[in-house]
């Protein structure tokens, strides 16, 4: 008899991105379903080979991609606060605290002036400390049963919040300029400014956050293997 669990895992590669507990549960339950179906075919009088062929046909016809998408959605929605929200907020709070301490210590972001009045603000010292915040988010997410995707989302949470806030500010600013102030925007200036703002506040900080999260994750795995 084939290893049903292995067949399920082979067809549902998405399980690798889920938390180990969720992946194990799905693999065992779907494997059990296949085995039940196989036993039913045997009881109905089919020979072993015939029953096996029926199940292999069912496996081939199964909408694995659809199943993978639905399972991933369920996993995301199950315990999102515990696995992503709280660890992410912890990473965000620690990043904000560090920025505040650096501001008190007069360690301000480095500003690079570009042409046409554009500039890029680079908080280099803060970014050097961000791997700690990313690691914190990833560790807490892992402790709460978060999958690899959850851990990375939690690690990069401060950058995600910064990016979202910038977009909201941009949209609110545009609405005010269009409908309240009735003055059009100079898009040739606004769009590059938004891009530079996003780069300095969200995209570049996301790199050390993810690096911190990945390093903490690798260390955790190494410790688990050693234990």
């Amino acid at each position: 008899m084939p290893d049903w669990k292995q067949i399920v895992r082979k067809n549902l590669c998405v399980l690798k991105a889920c938390s180990p507990e969720f992946a194990d549960k799905i693999a065992e339950e779907l494997a059990s379903h296949l085995e039940d179906s196989y036993e039913e075919h045997l009881r109905s009088g089919l020979p072993e080979e015939g029953a096996l062929q029926r199940i292999l046909n069912e496996i081939e016809l199964c909408r694995w991609n659809w199943l993978a998408l639905r399972l991933l959605k369920e996993e995301r929605m199950t315990g999102f606060t515990r696995k992503v929200g709280l660890p992410g907020l912890l990473a965000f709070a620690s990043a904000m605290a560090m920025e505040w301490v650096l501001a008190i210590a007069h360690m301000h972001p480095k500003t690079i002036f570009l042409s046409n009045g554009l500039f890029l603000s680079l908080p280099i010292t803060w970014m050097c400390l961000l791997p700690i915040c990313g690691a914190l988010g990833a560790i807490v997410s892992r402790r709460n049963g978060g999958s690899l995707l959850d851990r990375m989302i939690a690690a990069a949470f401060p950058a995600e919040i910064a990016s979202a806030v910038l977009f909201v500010v941009f949209i609110v600013g545009w609405v005010i300029s269009q409908f309240v102030a009735d003055s059009g925007w100079n898009w040739a200036f606004v769009l590059p400014a938004l891009g530079l703002w996003q780069t300095g506040s969200a995209l570049l900080p996301a790199i050390p956050l993810l690096l911190g999260g990945a390093a903490a994750d690798a260390a955790n795995r190494a410790l688990a293997r050693a234990a």
Binding site: S32, R70, L71, E74
Partner: protein
């Protein structure tokens, strides 16, 4: 027998599964099998449609799942309807009853 459209199947799936579970706790394969047998094969669940729905019910606390160990050591998850699930079932039944009655009035079918 004429096959019913995918949309009607999806809409009726929740009602069918919750109704079966209101009678007794069942595991996934049993649910799929019973629905297939009781509907004469009109409604048929494959793994891709059944399990995500069961996990959704579990997330909403409409059902509670527990592992059962079989004599051969294999484990199976058994689903049981919760009181919250029972509360969901009553209005769902009423909605479908109203829907079928309305359809019957329009089409004149005795068994819509």
């Amino acid at each position: 027998m004429a096959s019913v459209s995918a949309q009607i199947k999806r809409g009726s799936a929740e009602l069918a599964v919750l109704t079966l579970l209101s009678e007794r706790p069942l595991h996934g394969y049993e649910i799929a099998k019973q629905i297939e047998v009781q509907t004469g094969g009109v409604l048929r669940f494959d793994m891709a449609s059944l399990y995500p729905m069961l996990y959704r019910f579990e997330r909403k606390a409409w059902v509670k799942a527990e592992w059962q160990i079989l004599p051969n050591g294999r484990r199976r998850r058994c689903y049981r309807l919760t009181s919250l699930g029972r509360k969901q079932l009553a209005p769902l039944r009423a909605q479908w009853r109203a829907f079928f009655t309305a359809l019957q009035n329009v089409t004149g079918f005795q068994n819509a």
